[in-house]
């Protein structure tokens, strides 16, 4: 009884693997059939758009047939040496590991690689690099910052704050007017990490530099090391705690992401620490609600303002693919400028190429000047390996745990992980 239940995930994984292997084998039947390219894409919102593109592409020529793969297990595919031929998905630390171990092919000779904005390409290198290769091409970037209710700000005669003191003044004025300044959704740990933690830390600390030093220190990280969570992040996280304790809704602990979108759409708070993905959800309830975005100010200098970005979609072709040429051709098709622009406009993403169309949506246009000036950072919570329960720790802080002891725990976890890696 015990054994079978405990091993279930692995049994399922094994049988799925067998099924998938079988499916791919039959897919490779010899003959005059066109060469198949399996295209891995898992972002649910993006699937309808790319499904149409695939249909068009397959109809336009007879040599290659692109097959959408929206469900296979990526790690298992790489493990078996049978990964998809082309991937277009979220780029994060987990994905970076495939690159770091040389599992992704070099694309630097492709004309598309020349078009990528260098500062956006640099984001890829922040998690991991492979010497001499450009194996990951960013396709779409999500910029995230404070979402605010423009109507409420106007009614209260408020300007977008550009320094920390101005932010506190805005919060105090909203509070005095009986308006909840921030809507918190602490029941979902990721929302604490993505919004509250990443924005406060990114507004004050150079995230990429911090993690570069942390990675160099490795097992040395602790109370005495030159940088550490408990030393470097104490100030921004204390401020995060202050904002949470004073300016968030009282019932934030019981509210989740869905509740937050609904409440914010109904005008129950003036500001919301979420990404552009929430805008579409809010619009489902209140399509006409006027919203804007601004970077969370954490210092006294407006020059320090930065927005949080993440590479929402990035393309890569595995070394192990047997259809690299065909995959490259389809990659070029996907990277046509009008194809990229149409996608980014629909998904509220920012373009990654030098010739990308500028964003115009009023809800995200507030971040444009920062994006164009490369005043951006990748979320601090995203640079910690998933094996450390960062989001849960941060949720603990939001619900009352001590900032100091939680950051100390993070340091200890970091050092312990470095020891066994």
């Amino acid at each position: 009884m015990d054994r079978t239940t405990r091993r279930t995930p692995r049994v399922v994984a094994a049988s799925l693997g067998l099924l998938l292997a079988g499916a791919t084998l039959t897919g490779c039947a010899p003959g005059d059939a066109p060469e198949t390219v399996s295209f891995h894409l898992t972002k649910p919102e993006a699937i309808p758009y790319f499904r149409e593109l695939i249909k068009e592409y397959n109809a336009s020529q007879d040599d290659v047939e692109v097959i959408l793969d929206a469900s296979s297990n990526l790690q298992a595919g790489f493990l078996r040496g049978n990964p998809p031929d082309l991937g277009l998905l979220n780029y994060n630390m987990e994905m970076a590991r495939f690159m770091e171990r040389g599992a992704l092919s070099d694309l630097s000779d492709m004309p598309e690689a020349e078009r990528i904005l260098p500062e956006v390409q640099d984001l890829v290198g922040q998690y991991a690099t492979y010497p001499g290769r450009t194996s990951v091409l960013p396709y779409s970037v999500m910029a995230a910052s404070v979402i605010y209710n423009t109507e409420m700000f106007e009614q209260q005669g408020l300007e977008v704050p550009e320094t920390y003191d101005e932010l506190i003044a805005v919060c105090d004025q909203l509070k005095a007017a009986g308006i909840t300044p921030f809507y918190g959704t602490f029941k979902d740990p990721w929302t604490v990490a993505q919004g509250w933690f990443d924005y406060t830390v990114g507004g004050e600390v150079d995230v990429a530099d911090f993690y570069e030093e942390m990675n160099e220190l490795g097992t040395e990280v602790g109370p005495e090391s030159p940088v550490s969570f408990q030393k470097t992040l104490a100030d921004p996280v204390d401020r995060m705690k202050l904002l949470i304790d004073n300016y968030a809704n009282a019932n934030a602990a019981s509210k989740g992401y869905g509740d937050g979108n609904l409440a914010f759409a109904k005008g129950e708070a003036a500001m919301y620490l979420q990404g552009p993905w929430a805008l579409g959800e809010i619009a489902k309830t209140s399509p006409d609600l006027e919203l804007g975005t601004f970077p969370l100010p954490m210092t006294d200098d407006p020059e320090d303002l930065q927005v949080r970005v993440n590479i929402d979609l990035a393309a890569w072709i595995p070394e192990a693919s047997e259809h690299q040429e065909a995959a490259r051709e389809f990659l070029s098709y996907l990277f046509q400028q009008d194809v990229m622009d149409a996608y980014n406009t629909a998904q509220l993403g920012y373009g990654t190429t030098t010739d990308a169309a500028p964003v115009t949506d009023p809800r995200i246009v507030g971040m444009k000047e920062y994006y164009e000036a490369a005043d951006f950072y990748q979320g601090a919570s995203r640079a910690i390996p998933l094996t450390i329960p960062t989001e849960n720790y941060l949720q603990g802080i939001a619900l009352g745990s001590s900032v100091e002891s939680t950051l100390k725990t993070l340091d200890a976890d970091w050092a312990r992980l470095a020891l066994r890696r």
């Binding site: 049994v11 094994a14 029941k187 509210k255 094996t387 849960n392 603990g396 745990s401």
Partner: protein
Amino acid sequence: MTTTTVPRRPRRKVEGIYYAFLVPSLLLFTLAITVPAIIGIFFSFTNSIGFGEWEIVGLINYIAMFSDPAILSSYLFTFGFAAVTVVLVNAIAFLLAVGLTAKIRLKTALRTVFVIPMVVSGIIIAYVFNFLFSNSLPAFGQATGIGVLSESILANPDLAWIGIVIVTAWQAIPGTLLIYIAGLLAVPGDVYEAADLDGASKWQQLLRITLPLVVGYVIINVLLGFKNFLNAYDVIVGLTNGGPGTATRSIPMTIVTGFTGGDYAYQMANATMFFVIVVVISLLQLRITRGRNAI
């Protein structure tokens, strides 16, 4: 010599058929469970992240594990949770079974009602209760002015485990109940008649006659229940996802992060440790109970 070969022959024929029954599942069990388990134990001595290059690192994973507060607290939580739940589930299920085997009306209908939670998937139950705990219960708490209930108990690091115990118990009671009903029906009626003649009260009958006669079933339920609750996963994912903070992270949840978080070798060490502990507990339980010729 001849005396031993003669009776063996017919036995062997029968054995052959039994082996034929056993071989398919034995083969599957070996391929799908034993082999991967051995591979997993092997990888717990490496620094593998699940794919790519790796090297043998000896006991480092085990050493790092014993100083990892996240893992230690997950063991504490899981064993505490399993102990509380197993007591609660067995107490309630036993009393329900006594009631449902007594001479009452609507016995069949009631039995059906009590078994319903068993057929609903754990994750669905968890999401439904999540809504109840986060919205309905706080609304009730605010309306009645009960301070503790006015905020979701799942958001309270000290109380969240109670929510998990309640939901797990709600889901686990039917299975336990069915085993107890079977046990109680197997108790012959004449012992109660004899007890009645001797003037034993209903309470005395329950404690002195029913309980000793079904003690084997109690042991089965406690054993199976405890081991199932150690594997708590889906209900916790649906209710708290290990939160608030890390207050309700169970051992299996920590092990799964080895796959999702690229910490394969380390969590294989954790899984190996967990496996050893469960085996030791099972052996101890068997040894303790064997004396009572229960199973």
